[in-house]
Symmetry: C4
Subunit: 199 residues, 4 copies
């Protein structure tokens, strides 16, 4: 668990004075051409916030109060690849909403929702499912993800996240929420050759 500002370390400190760090400190993450590369083999779990990460943070409400959210087909292919690795996958949402369960079912990713305190939930989940939070990547976008972002060894956020989330995230993604965040992780951050996996 790290409590200093990852964003500054990777984007400010590391590029300018890389020689002062021992390369063994960050064995699984590297900083090449301003793009962070993370070795997926170093991860035991990836936990995704739902709204604003797998969706564009908008919600459609109809006259019966039925809610809809807007996701991206390209993330489906991304999860197809992630499920072929040994990394545990979860969706963790503050909202208690059938729509999260429906999307999780489609993506074949287990959903934990109605979560009031994501830090406590993550700690319980990690204990129950036997994974190490230091080897966990949390992907969130808003202030209710703040504690979870700092609790996990690694954190990522969409480009349109809250400024305070962008500040503490290990990895700031280029895409906005709901525009294919999972695909960017798979192809740009984990550098997985999708064509090999899809064969």
């Amino acid at each position: 668990m790290f409590f200093f500002n990852w964003h500054d370390v990777f984007n400010e400190v590391l590029p300018t004075c890389f020689s002062h760090f021992s390369p063994t400190v960050f064995p699984t993450i590297s900083h090449i051409n301003n793009v962070l590369i993370l070795d997926i083999k170093a991860l035991e779990a990836i936990v995704f916030d739902f709204d604003g990460v797998l969706t564009d943070n908008r919600v459609w409400v109809d006259q019966q109060g039925n809610e809809s959210v807007c996701c991206n087909r390209s993330d489906g292919l991304g999860f197809d690849v992630l499920r072929k690795t040994s990394v545990k996958l979860y969706i963790l949402s503050t909202e208690t909403n059938p729509v999260v369960m429906q999307r999780g079912k489609k993506l074949k990713v287990p959903v934990h929702q109605g979560v009031k305190n994501k830090v406590h939930s993550l700690q319980t989940l990690a204990q129950d499912a036997s994974f190490d939070l230091d080897k966990t990547l949390f992907v969130g976008n808003d202030l209710n993800d703040y504690g979870a972002m700092q609790l996990c060894g690694f954190s990522a956020c969409p480009a349109d996240s809250h400024p305070q989330i962008l500040e503490v995230a290990t990895i700031s993604l280029k895409k906005d929420g709901g525009q294919g965040i999972v695909r960017e992780l798979v192809e740009q951050v984990f550098e997985i050759n999708m064509l090999e996996f899809l064969k």
Copy 2:
């Protein structure tokens, strides 16, 4: 109640000749770096128009005439914070539509809809609920909000509001309608530290 042009006062007059005003005239609002700061403690009520403020002013219509509107999840967190203050919150809408009621229910904010004349409705509401319109912030976007914007002591509008609404609003927000207007009010205008509230 003020009938001169607030927009001009705050954006044209105040910045250029601030010394000519006594600071005691505006005890609750200040103009720092072109951003208006409003002390929420000075408010007794905030009244929100619905379409174009809590939505992007679009409406989806299906074959059965069922309407849907597009809202923003980030506003939900904003209302969570506002409900922890003593300020009274209302949604006031010209439309008579179950969709407004459904969104109000989700946000836990009382809804007054089917309102033909917002000025009369506001006056009745203020009397019934015992709040002072001079200490009320009205948030609207289109010409049917014009009278209400001028009736209340303070008014705010999204960036994509009607030009004549932008002209009379005390506070012109940076975000468009449905893009997180409530959050901008909470974090930028009222300067509330959300992380403290979410703890």
Copy 3:
């Protein structure tokens, strides 16, 4: 009925050689600062295409084949004003779709749909409802509106219309389809003071 290119006349010919035209030729339309002003008193009818004019030309399709389209609330206020004038209003659509009927019902504008040939339909409609096509404004966006645009005395189109429609339209609007076309007509083209009408 005019068969030459209106677009060229108003945007190319008129501004550069206005003196060669007798002002009495266009008594109801004027060209001020590159904006066309049309006197609504000169019109007997306005006929709107639906998709791409009152919507953004997109259609949402669900698993049951139920279609939804995306309209703009601001057009609702625009029709409130137009219905207070003596001008006849119609929606004319090639699509045979309950969604058009539902939107027309909400806007209180009669709908003629399933129209294979808009020119024939307009001619029948003008005869039945006793209005003069030379004093009619047709608003369309795509090639199936081409004949109707040329048949009517006046024609308007959204900014994102088909290039060949932009070429023949009397009036090229600044807004895209579904972004408030009716409001732009009412406020910019007819120069109606909405605040007076809403009193």
Copy 4:
């Protein structure tokens, strides 16, 4: 069947050293002012991927798990024209989803969905329906279309396709998926005069 990079051939090699190629090698495709023109008479079939081509690659999910996708009305007119030619039309989708069938029904284009391997499916389809894959245009956008793009004699992709798809496509379209891809093919690539067809 071609296994070299079409994109490079047409956009890099051909424009700079056109004289080194015999014009008889590409009798049906020409490169004028950086726009590729393809003679539709040279085609026996056009096969469309669904998500990201006829839609914008997004999916709306509601609380019952009912999915909706966003299509473009202008493509409807495009298919009206294509159906008047002798070219066979198909939609081929990896997703098994009633929404694809519903859209295909509306466009009157046969749908093959739940396709795990598009290359095998295309080969079977070409044999069953007796068309030549060398005279087939495949339109796709993502990596699960990669093999199909290379299998067919011609391939096209929307402007917002995956970088590796943009690289192998014969024709890179100007529009994004769901913004009227079929219309761009009909009017810009096949250079069909729509007004003649709509008469």
